[in-house]
Symmetry: none
Subunit: 217 residues, 4 copies
Amino acid sequence: MDIDKSGEEINFPEMTDKQRKIYESALEIFAQKGFSGASTGEIAKKAGVAEGLIFKHFKNKKTLFQKIAFAVVEKTLIPLTVQRIKSLLEKDYSDIRIFLTLFFEERLDFIKSNQSFLRIILQEISFDTQLQNFAREQFELKIFPLVNQFLKRHQEKGILKPLDTAVIIRLTMSSLLGYAVLRVLLFPDKNWDDKMEIQSTVDILCAGMAMGNQQLA
Amino acid sequence: MDIDKSGEEINFPEMTDKQRKIYESALEIFAQKGFSGASTGEIAKKAGVAEGLIFKHFKNKKTLFQKIAFAVVEKTLIPLTVQRIKSLLEKDYSDIRIFLTLFFEERLDFIKSNQSFLRIILQEISFDTQLQNFAREQFELKIFPLVNQFLKRHQEKGILKPLDTAVIIRLTMSSLLGYAVLRVLLFPDKNWDDKMEIQSTVDILCAGMAMGNQQLA
Amino acid sequence: MDIDKSGEEINFPEMTDKQRKIYESALEIFAQKGFSGASTGEIAKKAGVAEGLIFKHFKNKKTLFQKIAFAVVEKTLIPLTVQRIKSLLEKDYSDIRIFLTLFFEERLDFIKSNQSFLRIILQEISFDTQLQNFAREQFELKIFPLVNQFLKRHQEKGILKPLDTAVIIRLTMSSLLGYAVLRVLLFPDKNWDDKMEIQSTVDILCAGMAMGNQQLA
Amino acid sequence: MDIDKSGEEINFPEMTDKQRKIYESALEIFAQKGFSGASTGEIAKKAGVAEGLIFKHFKNKKTLFQKIAFAVVEKTLIPLTVQRIKSLLEKDYSDIRIFLTLFFEERLDFIKSNQSFLRIILQEISFDTQLQNFAREQFELKIFPLVNQFLKRHQEKGILKPLDTAVIIRLTMSSLLGYAVLRVLLFPDKNWDDKMEIQSTVDILCAGMAMGNQQLA
DNA sequence: GATGAATGAGTCTTCATTCAT
DNA sequence: CATGAATGAAGACTCATTCAT
């Protein structure tokens, strides 16, 4: 079970108990087996409800899946992210490498703990333009401003080079994503030395983004 | 159809015409719909053969899928990659940024043209340890030595910092992968300025990996 | 339809109507065509239900067949046999030939009326050790004691020779079975004179088993 | 493999090697799995020939099966029986029990060694009137006269009671058949004491058929 | 004669979905 | 709200049979 415990508190007050059970079981099974690989029968069994009940609440399988995908973004991934990075972003750093290292560690940990949620999104998002837009909007509305403000503050202080903040964010994110895909999805069984890998990545990123006197190791 | 034309020449001489048709149709449909989402009926129809014939040649759906996944790595992705990067790696560069830019452009182009193949691999590889090992072996045998030799040569010339070549390769690859996932899989419909994005990425990577006098833009 | 009418009253209260319909149709079709020769589609059609319903209740075709085979022994063949031979065994006979004649007639009639059930068992029993044991147990528990007590009583009265009752039973049964196999299974279309055949058989058996003064014809 | 070795010499000169291979493989597989349970693919594989070849020689599966059933009667069961019982029937017996014991032992041994052939016949004969007639004809033509002459000879000598020989034969055969069905088909795994069982059966049969002074044990 | 690729109807089974209770 | 029996279409897979070589 890789469900983030703090995430479970973020709940859906409008749902009945059984509805929520269905939702949670579906989430887990979709994450394990993909949309087509999961069967409503299995979901119902895991949720401890009658098969028919799923269709009282969710109309059909596709809808159930999509509702989950959207809700995962809005109710889980975004809030959890905000909650977790807020404290990191509130502080001021004299050396950006310290921040980046903490950030990468935190995000990798987040990805590890929330694989179920992420797998759901990865499955769906490349086929569903609506979800793409929704995810982007949510990101731009709730995450981007926080990070942007943080970056600008440190650029003003001369800690960061005056690059386009969107570029900084994308680069940082894609480096992280690249590592995470290799680390978590493709080769989870390899012996990874996360500390060292993050260190190397951060060093190189910093060399490009940080102002002069912050030395590499 | 996003099948790389030069790739189609790499064929399977032991296959009959219909067998190859099955193989190709299956590849495309699996890439579009995933393993469970694809039906053998649809594959047969697209291939223009009787459904039963699939099972004469491939025993079952899972085997068909796996054979494709393995063959894609061995007969398509690896040879195409070798063929395409060889000319890049034969030259000597006085500024590593020139190489990295060409490399990123080439690889992104490759990823765009071979989405079908890559999607197949991505689907399967996170569940199939055998495929993971096979892919890693093939990479370490056929790609790594080429790149390694190139890097060592440029380190000796003082163009590259004397970092562990494995780290350089992983970092470069994961930056590329991260960008490609965003660019091709997750948000293919966004307006991307590839030239600019690659430029920024390369600049930052170079700042970390290149020796002193190669200036950033 | 060769289903024994009195047998139909022995039913399965836990079954729904459709479930029973499936059960009955399957019984008949398996009896006619054997396990592999029967198709679930045909069974469903005969039962007037959707084919899928069979698998809601019985998991798979083999299970359906086995459930039927076991139930036929326990719920039909054994109870019917007990019910039918009980009255024969309660009486006392001064000439064992009278009993044997009645017994053979009754059993042959029973076999004729319950061919469906018997064919099911014969198909399965030579391949299924569990069914063999179950059938033997049921016989030894519910039939053997009745007959044994009857034989002992008549041995004490000096009507029957003091042979091992197990041997008497096996001989009588196998003579009956041999005749029944020829009569009902192998050559049902021949013109049989059952009265005469039974008479001859009984005469010879009696000569071996009955005490002295009971004369042969 | 329960094929009688002496039987294999009785061959089909008009068949090619492969045809005979098909015939033999089919015989064995039909015997094991029944008509519907056997597949032509499996038969071809076991015979080491291409699937299509079966249909060059035998037109279709049903025909193959029927040809086998008829040939088994004509070329195997009858000749083997004749060959084996001839020596038994040529002698003269002063006590019919000696003959019957030898006969039962020989026949039980025969049934044990030729189960494959017998299972084929049992499957088919109850559904196929032609085979019924053919089997009866063959029996009446090739076996009955031998036995009949033997019985008449011993009746004339006062060893056997002057009963209808057809009745004697049927009774003897059905006693044997009944025992064999229990012994070989239904409960092959039970611990049988064949000697004792045959002894008891023969004793009782003799008491009915033999003339007075041949005492029971 | 012999092969084995190819067919297409058929088999068992699963599954999303509906509906009476 | 909740159940689970029932459906029917579709799924993967098998198999007897044909045919070009």
